[in-house]
């Protein structure tokens, strides 16, 4: 049986400059051959540094930007390269929540009007808007407000309500709490967990915050320069990552008690320019375990029994 959400070999490149008359513009792959699977009702956390392609991947999954190659299936149905009508119908099944809640809302429309809009577009009863707002903990008086009259946490609730109103199967959450205070973050994350339990939602949760991802995810995928370098069930991942980059990320998380610190964190330094990625394993210039093969050969994403990692030395390291 194939998974509920399947992404296969997704690729997307961007031009980095101008081409000449006979010379195409130089391009780099922000997402370079990413394959993922996710069961219904589960959450996949996607982590990585800024610029690793997390946000591009989330837009690709939703079909909000065009892919250079690859496919996405939701419940067995192809979601990319649809006709306009099919693409719009697919919006009912997959929705987006992203970091900039204030920006995601039209400053000229009341909260109610914005949550109702998708229902109007798809010809659904408008009562679902009120219901969705209540589900995220916003009462009737809030619905009449404009975005500038609300706090950041409230705005993110509106954005979630707007996504919920269409009763989608899949929600892609791109850094949904990164811009919020820590106390508000907890409220929103708990709200997301609760909504998922009530409605059987499937989440793709993009974040650079390993703590939040640990709280909400069932599986975790680590991206590095446009590629998935490790993908594993949450427990296995946090207990012992296979990829040196994943390990470095986990080690870099501040631990409250110094006595519990695992090892001295590896100092990674700045990531290389994604427009000009290193040869072989893209992580090798920053990897303490790198050898000759890492410089020469790109490691495949190998199966390690329910988890995958792309490292030549995974067996020796862990």
């Amino acid at each position: 049986m194939s998974a509920f959400l399947t992404a296969e070999n997704l690729r997307r490149s961007f031009a980095t400059g101008r081409g000449g008359l006979f010379r195409p513009a130089p391009r780099f792959f922000a997402v370079d051959g990413v394959s993922l699977e996710l069961e219904k009702g589960q959450t996949l956390g996607i982590v990585g540094e800024s610029g690793c392609g997390k946000s591009t991947l989330s837009k690709l999954i939703l079909g909000l930007i065009e892919a250079d190659g690859g496919s996405v299936r939701l419940g067995g149905q192809e979601t990319l390269n649809l006709s306009d009508a099919d693409w719009r119908a697919m919006r009912r099944r997959m929705q987006l929540v992203y970091q900039d809640a204030a920006g995601a809302l039209d400053p000229r429309m009341t909260v109610r009007a914005q949550v109702e809009e998708p229902l109007r577009i798809h010809g659904l009863p408008l009562g679902a808007a009120e219901e969705a707002l209540r589900a995220v903990g916003l009462n009737g008086t809030m619905a009449g407000r404009y975005p500038h009259e609300m706090s950041g946490g409230q705005l993110q609730r509106v954005v979630i309500a707007r996504a919920l109103a269409l009763e989608p199967d899949l929600m892609v959450l791109d850094e949904p709490v990164s811009a919020l205070d820590v106390s508000i973050q907890a409220q929103i994350v708990n709200l997301l967990v609760q909504l998922q339990a009530e409605r059987g939602l499937t989440y793709v949760f993009v974040s650079h915050d390993l703590g939040v991802v640990r709280h909400i995810s069932d599986r975790v995928a680590v991206m590095y320069l446009g590629r998935v370098v490790e993908e594993a069930p949450k427990e296995a991942f946090y207990d012992g990552p296979l990829h040196p980059y994943a390990r470095a990320l986990l080690d870099a998380v501040a631990v409250p008690d110094p006595a519990n610190r695992r090892t001295q964190a590896v100092r990674l330094g700045d990531p290389p320019n994604p427009a000009n990625p290193p040869s072989g394993c893209r992580f090798h210039p920053r990897c303490p375990f790198a050898t000759e093969i890492c410089r020469a050969e790109t490691p495949a994403l190998r199966d390690f029994g329910g988890r995958r990692a792309a490292c030549h030395h995974a067996e020796e390291i862990c």
């Binding site: 939703l62 920006g103 400053p107």
Partner: protein, 310 residues
């Protein structure tokens, strides 16, 4: 309520400054009696007219009595033909309003859609054609375009009358002359403000809701993009009236613009002052209207809206 009070006070201050400035500048640039009357007039007659027009008293006394008269609705008498200055000006206001209004309409009807198209197809050949035309449109001097139109449509093709204001046909060329430059400017403002709105996250949100291109344009992009355009429009009304002076002269359009140039030339003080007051009032009111429209367009500046806004 407080908002209205502040606006009114500010408008009153503006009006006071305009009246005072015009009053003193006009009197500082020469003796009206000497300019208006023939050169070879004898001293006694000159003095008689100075006395009659109240130009003998000290300047500040003239200033005070002018204000007193204003408060009684008396704008003074035209030196030139002894008519009530206000009546003289007021007669011509509808003509200028017609010309200016039509020009503004032309500017909006042509400028807005072109700006929207250019923004939607940014960096395409369409964008380049529209923007190049716009640069051409507003760099061409007003009077030059007017004369060009007269040459083509009146002298060559004999389709339209070159001067006067009797029929709708008379209106076409002056309104086009006055409107073209503004259409070009509005196209540019609309384009840049649309481009800014189109990259906003809420436009992506609209797309992910499943909103089609027309809905995204009409419901989200245009209303947000029109806020800065409306602001500009308020200032442009004043500028439009300024250019109307030139256009009215070229087409012998009997509006207040032509009356103004004429009256300044002969130092017809009361008429000039009256026109300036009316122009200033128009400016003040158009800006007030813009403020009101603003509130309709942008809830963030809506007066008294909400409590959470700071």
């Amino acid at each position: 309520m407080r908002w209205i009070t502040i606006k009114t006070l500010r408008a009153a201050l503006t009006m006071w400054l305009v009246v005072t400035f015009v009053f003193f500048v006009l009197r500082a640039t020469g003796d009206p009696a000497a300019i208006l009357l023939p050169d070879d007039i004898d001293q006694a007659t000159l003095e008689f007219y100075r006395e009659k027009w109240g130009l003998t008293a000290p300047l500040w006394e003239q200033y005070v009595s002018y204000w007193k008269a204003l408060f009684h609705g008396d704008f003074g008498i035209s030196f030139r033909n002894n008519m009530d200055a206000f009546q003289l000006v007021w007669e011509r206001v509808p003509k200028t309003a017609l010309l200016g209004g039509t020009a503004l309409l032309i500017a909006l009807v042509i400028g807005m859609p072109l700006g929207i198209l250019a923004a939607l197809y940014k960096d395409s050949w369409l964008d380049r054609v529209i923007m190049t035309t716009a640069v051409f449109g507003f760099s061409m001097p007003n009077f030059f375009l007017g004369i060009l139109l007269i040459l083509i449509f009146s002298l060559q093709l004999r389709m339209l009358p070159s001067s006067g204001s009797g029929t709708a046909a008379h209106l076409i060329m002056p309104a086009l002359t006055l409107g073209t430059g503004f259409a070009a400017q509005i196209a540019r403002y609309t384009r840049s403000s649309m481009i800014e709105v189109l990259i906003r996250p809420y436009m992506r949100t609209a797309r992910s809701k499943g909103a089609g291109p027309m809905r995204r344009l009409a419901q989200h992009a245009l209303p947000n993009a029109s806020v800065p355009v409306v602001t500009i429009l308020g200032f442009k009304v004043g500028e439009l009236l300024g250019w109307a002076v030139v256009t009215e002269t070229v087409f012998a359009w009997p509006g207040i613009g032509r009356l103004l140039t004429h009256s300044v030339a002969v130092r017809d003080l009361a008429v000039v002052q009256c026109i300036m007051i009316i122009l200033a009032l128009t400016m003040v009111f158009s800006n007030m209207i813009v403020d009101l429209i603003y509130g309709r367009l942008d809830p963030r500046v809506r007066v008294g809206a909400g409590t959470a806004s700071k």
